[in-house]
């Protein structure tokens, strides 16, 4: 791992980072009520009497939220607490209708686990660091306040009130903005593989409380600040960068760090103290008397375990070991669950179309996906999620290369046409006459003309300038409009040049 240091006037400072990530659990209904969790609905249209904390309303736990949190815990190798319970965290705020948040302080559902991160994209196997996860607890989200719709009032929308969250609390194991960024990306990847959170940071499905402190190398932990609700990887890193430097400045000018809650301002890239929350530190946690202990049996946990998909690290290893992909390619293909899913469909279809084993076509498929297709999608402003070309259609294109119907360079043209028209590769090749030729007579005729037209170069080649061979190949292919079979061209050229 990189050694990230702040160069202060008094020497080098180390940064200590812990993250509390709030991840919205994927569920149809809220944690304790039957209201929908769909994003973007009309204000207060997805609010039950329970969510609005009407007198006499009571919480009833959504089992799916618990199942997803358990699956998430298992995915990070964490211990599952078969006996857990919910506590109330009491404070007053307009987005908190009950006057308390139902959360888990004393007995969380998920205990210690870990997440492995790497900072080396070229080789994710190298430079691995294990980041401890302290716990995952399940809790309710709050509502939303809108401050800019009325001159003297704030507006309250409770649609999010009661939506299930997992709070994933890391140990203070990170030491640089890059490590924190890698941790959030990896966590997001795992959550999306597991399907317990959609990871959509723009919609607030995932947000991080960033705990930062600084210390001289080898010193005791310093006082930390907590910057709340940072909602992108970039902002998490910027928060740390800013906070660490700010704290060093404060300490070096003789000040002390206040343990406080701060807010990140994306416009300025700075953080500021959130005074509005400062007096609320005595949360008077106690077990929620409306809820009983949550007791899970082995069958529940084992069913959750059995439902887990292959996770990113395991998949990456398999791509390397069974499919023979490079660590880099395996890393790229497994970082996002959609990419891996797309790749695997491509692989299966390509192998089938080409009549070969998956491991025989894996490299070709991987190379094409990474070096051709990602670029092509990028040029038309698309990604795999909304790709106009299905993995199946792409497999057809790859199979045409494998069986020699078209060359690699023609395949590029075909791909462009596919993106333009949405037509299948086979259709385009037939319609545009792009099939490559192995007709030796036709190729020989072209070669003869090229050698005559470039007599000087033929002389030089024969005089020992063998590098010119590539020039003749290029000229031939150009004259054949890319449709000549490159293998046949090579063979015939060698013969013609003696």
């Amino acid at each position: 791992m990189s050694t990230y240091r702040i160069q202060g006037a008094t020497g080098e400072w180390e940064v200590v980072i812990g993250l509390e990530v709030h991840a919205q659990i994927t569920s149809n209904a809220k944690l304790f009520s039957g209201a929908s969790t769909t994003f973007g609905a009309e204000p207060n249209s997805q609010v039950s009497l329970v969510d609005a904390a009407m007198p006499g309303m009571l919480p009833v736990l959504n089992g799916e939220c618990i199942r997803q949190a358990v699956r998430t815990g298992l995915a990070i190798d964490a211990s599952i607490n078969k006996w857990s319970r919910f506590d109330r965290k009491n404070y007053f705020y307009a987005d908190l209708p009950q006057g308390y948040q139902i959360s888990q302080l004393y007995h969380p559902l998920v205990g210690e686990g870990h997440i492995d991160i790497s900072l080396d994209d070229k080789n994710p196997e190298a430079d691995v660091k294990r980041i401890g996860v302290e716990r995952i607890h399940v809790e309710q989200d709050a509502g939303k306040l809108m401050h800019d719709q009325h001159p003297t009032m704030s507006y309250v929308d409770l649609n999010r009130s009661g939506v299930a969250l997992m709070e994933i609390v890391s140990k203070p194991d990170m030491r640089s903005p890059a490590e924190a960024g890698a941790y959030v990306r990896k966590l997001r990847s795992i959550l999306r593989y597991v399907g317990s959170c959609d990871g959509n940071m723009e919609e607030g499905s995932m947000r991080a409380d960033v705990n930062v402190s600084v210390r001289k190398v080898g010193d005791e932990l310093g006082t930390r600040t907590e910057t709340k609700n940072v909602n992108s990887v970039r902002f998490v890193m910027a928060t740390i960068e800013y906070e660490a430097n700010r704290q060093v400045d404060v300490l070096e000018s003789g000040g002390t760090i206040a343990q406080e809650t701060r807010l990140f301002d994306p416009d300025t890239g700075t953080t500021r103290s959130m005074r509005s929350k400062e007096d609320a530190h005595d949360y008077r946690y106690f077990p929620d008397p409306d809820l009983l202990p949550l007791v899970l049996d082995d069958a529940f946990v084992e069913a959750a375990r059995a439902s887990l998909p292959e996770l990113p690290d395991a998949k990456r290893h398999r791509y390397e070991n069974a499919l023979g992909l490079s660590p880099y390619a395996a890393g790229v293909l497994t970082a996002e669950v959609e990419t891996a899913r797309w790749f695997e469909t491509l692989l299966t279809s390509t192998a089938k179309a080409a009549g070969k084993g998956e491991s025989d076509v894996a490299k070709q498929a991987s190379n094409w996906l990474i070096s051709e297709f990602f670029g092509a999608l990028n040029r038309v402003g698309k990604s795999l999620d909304n790709s106009p070309i299905s993995a199946d259609a792409a497999a057809e294109l790859l199979a045409l290369i494998t069986d020699g119907t078209i060359s690699g360079s023609i395949a590029k043209q075909v791909l462009e046409k596919m993106l333009e028209t949405g037509d299948r590769a086979g259709t385009i090749v037939t319609r545009e006459g792009l099939k490559q030729t192995s007709d030796t007579d036709a190729i020989d005729a072209v070669i003869a003309k090229i050698l005559t037209d470039n007599a000087d170069k033929v002389e030089q080649y024969k005089g020992g300038k063998e590098a010119l061979f590539g020039f003749f190949v290029g000229q031939t292919m150009k004259a054949m409009q890319g449709k000549a079979n490159p293998g046949v061209v090579n063979e015939l050229l060698k013969k013609a040049l003696g």
Binding site: G34, A35, S36, E42, L49, F92, H147, H150
Partner: protein
Amino acid sequence: MSVDTATVAKIAALARIKLTEAEVAGMVPELNGILAWVEQLGEVDVTGVEPMTAVIANTLRLREDVVNADPLTGGGMRDAVLANAPAAEHGFFGVPKVIE
């Protein structure tokens, strides 16, 4: 443990109950009387005793993840939710402007 006026003022603030100085002063002996009385619990030997977690031994039932399965605990009832609001505008609850 006993409380003084500062402590009573602090817990009143925490509980969001505005008290006059006179009310705080009046509350001090009342709360101290009650606290002194409840503190006799300290005499009880509770070694090895777990705090009660369920009055009738029972554990949580898990609900199915179904939206609006019971209309009484489902959403889609904005008018009912806003019906008693002291200030409701444009489908929102209104509160004095909050500066975060």
